[in-house]
Subunit: 355 residues, 2 copies
């Protein structure tokens, strides 16, 4: 593989949150230098990166200087403004590429893409106004969830409809943004596949993890997940199918519902994913290094784990548990260096390693 | 434990090499911010630290500003000038403390200290001139090694005496520095114990690793080491004994020769140690985090491992092996971000995880 980016090269990362932070550490482990681009001041990733640009995504000059200062660009979140991407892409390679962003930035486009691959999704319908919402409700039936097509994460930009009568208030919650109505899937549990694809098309998946959410935010991921061997194979194959279809380079999180009728794709995230944090203490090459390897044209780790792991997020006041957690054996703490504890804010996580 | 330094606090690290780099990453993982003090430009640790002071150890103003900017101070190497320590210590706590540095900075003091604890060492004698060297040779007999009392590492500042006739040239190699003559120990292999002691006196040891050297530099460390259960217990107890005697806070590397007559202490290093790098992929809490935990008044990890590991150093041109190593499963790479490859220079290491 002659395209391997050499140690010492500079990897630019858009976004300075905890994912950028852990990507930065993983890149350093391979001898790369990292440069964070982040509009907010004092980003968590900046504490472990060599360089930080503090500028807005519409600051063309800052974007150009950033692109000129790095060898390759990646990102920690999918909602990067299109104009910024256009500008950056003209200067340096960006992985994962535009097609993955185009598809995953819009729930409607994403669901159509997945169905086009023959994969199952929740029933859905395009919603632009009350008339189309009522039409969608006729077809999908309450209970259902109305979601903005763009910029949603961790349960934000969503409204539950318990009955058709909730239509108006739910639509008001969307604040005029284009939305889709999603029907509920009757699933027993949710799993996710953290899949990676290299510059050369090589694909490697970590073993699926089983996710439990609380208040719309990931609470725990446990590996191995409860899956039959056939389901496990299905999960990995469909993830590989998605990555290949997008000519994807990097790590992707693929969330799946387990149902009696098979696996249903909940959503895909074109980046390292909270449900892959367990790999930090379960694998020789974790999801962050796997992503950097893909972006840098390195061979991928094989994704096999040396240990079973249970990952748990530390949200807001969960930080008070740190002294007790530090005393527990087999617990590996990962704190994000965020100055302020806020309710619902991801402050860190820990991995409990099984022996 | 009410003395736990809270996440967000600043840990000052003297020395910006690979050990400072890996300490910095471990500190960040616990939510700490790091500040490196290093005379050399562009230190490897600076790439993953929040702040870097580039100044000499005799720059009193820079030292004071550094001390004022941090909450606690630690270091990656033991040869910090005494005057710098005096100044820093007047401002902020330094761990490990002065006694550990006083003892380990001088091979003669160290050997006397160890014998005072009833521990075995290689035969040794103080050498200040040709007369005392010849006297020492009468007692210890060639072959033997003449070593400077201070500032030696990785085989530097050492001269082998194959016969008494080598005395004059060996002494010349010392360039007038005070030295000790050490006799050889008839050992089957070398092991080291990476031991830690917390602010509260709690001690935790990682399982001993077995070391193989090449050209005076550590080549591999393999865990578990070849030791009988009794030897393993001896190794851990004598390490704990050393740490307690020094009222030590932090991680220490204790190198031991395994002989038919028992364990002989080769040397101690009051810092994280190359032979402890395997813990990064073998334990929930590695030696770097263990050191930060001790320095920050946190509870220690228990030192138990989840996996057997073989660590190998990448020295100089070994960097050419990186593309092949990246392809191997169960291999975790750790590169140091050093710009220039030089013969004998530690560029990185890898851990091979056993399954």
């Amino acid at each position: 593989m002659t395209d391997m980016l050499a140690p010492g090269a500079v990897i630019g990362i858009l976004g300075g949150g905890q994912l950028g932070r852990m990507l930065s550490v993983a890149a350093a482990r391979l001898g790369f230098v990292t440069h964070i681009f982040e509009p907010g001041a004092n980003p968590p990733a900046g504490q472990v990166a060599d360089r930080v640009t503090t500028a807005a995504y519409d600051d063309a000059e800052a974007l150009r200087a950033f692109a000129d200062a790095v060898d390759v660009i990646t990102y920690e979140f999918e909602n990067i403004p299109t104009e910024a991407l256009d500008l950056l892409e003209a200067h340096r390679p960006i992985h994962p590429g535009r097609e993955a962003l185009r598809v995953s930035q819009d729930r409607l486009t994403e669901k159509n893409f997945l169905q086009g691959l023959g994969l199952k999704t929740a029933p859905f319908a395009d919603v632009s106004d009350l008339a189309s919402l009522n039409e969608a409700l006729d077809q999908i039936r309450a209970p259902a969830i109305l979601k903005t097509r763009r910029f949603g994460y961790d349960g934000k930009g969503q409204a539950r409809l318990h009955a058709s009568a909730d239509a108006e208030s739910a639509l008001a919650d969307m604040a005029g943004a284009p939305a889709i109505l999603e029907g509920f899937v009757n699933f027993s549990h949710e799993v996710s596949v953290i899949a990676a694809r290299g510059l050369d098309g090589q694909v490697a998946c970590f073993d699926p993890g089983e996710n439990v959410h609380r208040d719309g935010i990931l609470h725990t991921t446990t590996v191995p997940a409860r899956l039959s061997p056939a389901q496990r194979t299905d999960a990995v194959l469909l993830a590989a199918n998605i990555l290949n279809a997008l000519d994807y380079v990097g790590v992707m999180g693929v969330e799946l519902f387990v149902t009696p009728e098979g696996l249903v794709v909940n959503e895909i995230a074109p980046r390292v994913h909270n449900s892959g944090h367990w790999t930090q203490n379960g694998c020789a090459v974790d999801q962050f290094e796997q992503h950097i390897r893909a972006v840098a044209g390195w061979p991928l780790g094989d994704g096999q784990r040396h240990s079973d792991v249970m990952m748990e997020n530390l949200i807001g006041a969960d930080m008070d548990r740190v002294p007790d957690l530090a005393r527990e054996r087999d617990v590996a703490l990962h704190l994000y260096g965020k100055a302020e504890v806020k309710p619902g804010r991801k402050m860190g996580h820990f991995n409990r390693i099984a022996r």
